[in-house]
């Protein structure tokens, strides 16, 4: 069904002009909502829908259709910058690309250092340990690295705690909460191996 016919039906359902500006559209909508709730809802579109499925069409669906479709007709125009503003934006854009490149390179170097240290250690273990590489062979075994904690390998789920940005001073349920949600816990020092 062609887009404009849907818009037409919707516009008719909500008694709003086809080219609404934002301000009066919001106003229209509010009146639209209130009117639909009070007056009987007997326009041709809904009668067709009703005949199709018998039940009164769910008003929320029409609202969702409106909120999905309406903003796309009010998409803001592309930006038009003045000469100075354009040069400032260009400078910021170039600096951001440069900054991302530097951060990426720093991370790469960090990983390379760790990799080279690990390579040197394993090489020393293979050659310099003096037990004919027995310790090296035992160290190179990858048993269980790719399995899952349930089967005794992989990565324990508590390891994947992830970074947050802030630590709280009371639990998530606030000071009034009981049980676990009450105490804020940054580091579980009282953990004991049961």
């Amino acid at each position: 069904m062609h887009a404009s016919s849907i818009r037409g039906a919707l516009a008719q359902v909500f008694q709003i002009p086809l080219r609404p500006t934002l301000r009066n559209a919001a106003g229209q909508i509010s009146t639209g909502i209130t009117t639909t709730t009070t007056s009987s809802f007997s326009t041709s579109a809904s009668r067709a829908a009703k005949k199709g499925r018998g039940a009164k069409p769910d008003q929320r669906i029409t609202l969702i259709r409106y909120f999905l479709y309406h903003p796309t007709t009010l998409t803001p125009r592309p930006l038009r910058f003045s000469r100075n503003r354009y040069l400032r934006h260009w400078t910021i854009h170039r600096a951001w690309n440069l900054y991302r490149a530097k951060v990426k390179q720093a991370r790469q170097l960090e990983l390379e250092r760790q990799y080279n240290a690990m390579h040197a250690a394993n090489e020393e273990l293979r050659v310099g340990a003096g037990d004919g590489g027995k310790l090296f062979r035992k160290a190179q075994m990858k048993t269980g690295v790719w399995s899952i904690p349930e089967r005794g390998g992989g990565v324990p789920i508590e390891y994947a705690r992830g970074l947050v940005e802030w630590m709280g001073s009371t639990g998530g349920l606030g000071s009034s909460g009981t049980g676990l949600g009450a105490k804020a816990k940054i580091w579980d020092s009282e953990w004991t191996r049961s």
Binding site: G52, R60, I64, L79, Q108, A120, K142, G154, G162
Partner: protein, 356 residues
């Protein structure tokens, strides 16, 4: 072969790290060079831009005009409007090929119609990956090859046709033994190819659309848009399937491809808030995965309703129309076990039989 090249290069870089062999000839030149470089600071290079704004020349004292600079003061104080501008360049609405005189500006240009403002925040999951997950993944999957070690030659994967029949000569090669599915090769993990999460595809097949009209599609589209901060892309049925009631050309499913910042925010929200709320859920089946590093798991409509975005105005969505989802996480790993290990580090629990 690849491993040997890699190990040779690694050996060289490693050796240059551990014992940078600088012969004395370079040493003393480096010393003279340092002194030389500082000397001719005065003589500016004719080839470079003298009046460069980045010249770092100390700004001439932030005089009064700069400190109390207020961009709105002058436009508000104007009594009459400026003369209308005669500049008419508009970004063209259609792209008519590379030789058309009216060319569209590149998408990174703010005046372009396709300009999308850049990232708005550094997602916490991205920082978790770079600070914690990448080094540990590299450590876990490190396979030591001594310097100068050449891996034993592996046979070619595509087998030639061997036989006396004359037709075998230029015939295209056969598939590998046991089926002709050529799986991705798994290169040893080094600091250059640590797998990372590349993109996330959220897919939802809207069964109600087949019988119940476009209401189901719109509600599912609104729900997906609320969850993923992206508008959905709908797909029409390609063929007619009578027993499933699929009609050609009717919209049946919708997907959202998440990359970059939106992807990290979606995953962070999914892992931290939504997955723990699924009733008696013991993780993702460990047999998931398509042997190329992409893992998929599904969410039923009840758990989709526990997303914070849908929970806030849950009554605005007709109850039965909230869709179930398939979430596919594409990683740059080339086999399932690496992808699963990466997702365990990110925080997704797995259970059941393990398939590599």
């Amino acid at each position: 072969m690849a491993e040997s090249h890699l190990s040779l290069r690694l050996a060289r870089t490693w050796r240059s790290f551990v014992k940078p062999s600088i012969c004395n000839r370079c040493l003393q030149t480096r010393r003279t060079l340092a002194s030389q470089a500082s000397a001719p600071q005065g003589q500016r290079d004719a080839e470079l831009e003298e009046a460069s704004s980045l010249g770092g020349a100390p700004d001439a004292g932030s005089g009064s005009p700069v400190r109390d600079f207020d961009p709105l003061k002058v436009p508000r104080s104007r009594k009459r409007q400026l003369v209308p501008s005669r500049y008419q360049f508009r970004s063209p609405k259609y792209y008519r090929g590379p030789l058309h005189p009216h060319q569209p500006p590149p998408p990174s240009d703010p005046a372009s119609r396709e300009f999308v403002p850049g990232p708005f925040s550094t997602p916490r999951l991205e920082q978790t990956y770079h600070n914690i997950i990448a080094p540990d993944f590299m450590t876990m999957c490190y396979q030591h090859t001594p310097p100068g070690f050449r891996a034993p030659q592996k046979g070619a994967r595509l087998r030639p046709w061997i036989g006396d029949s004359p037709y075998f000569r230029n015939r295209p090669l056969r598939g590998p033994r046991g089926g002709d599915v050529l799986r991705l090769l798994r290169k040893p993990i080094t600091f250059r190819n640590i797998p990372m999460i590349e993109r996330v595809t959220v897919h939802s097949f809207v069964k109600g659309a087949l019988s119940g009209g476009s209401g189901y599609i719109h509600v599912a589209g609104m729900a997906l848009q609320a969850i993923t901060n992206h508008r959905v892309m709908t797909h029409e049925a390609r063929t007619n399937e009578a027993n499933w009631g699929i009609i050609k050309g009717k919209t049946v499913s919708m997907t959202v491809d998440l990359k970059g910042e939106d992807m990290y925010h979606f995953l962070g929200k999914l892992i931290n808030v939504v997955l723990p709320r699924i009733k008696d859920w013991n993780g993702v089946r460990a047999t998931t995965g398509d042997n190329s590093g992409n893992l998929t798991f599904g969410l039923d409509p009840e758990s989709v309703a526990t997303f914070p975005e849908i929970e806030t105005n849950y009554d605005a969505y007709p109850g039965k129309m909230i869709p179930g989802l398939h979430i596919t996480i594409h990683t740059t790993a080339t086999c399932d076990k690496d992808a699963r290990l990466l997702l365990q580090q990110v925080g997704i629990p797995f259970y059941g039989k393990v398939v590599d």
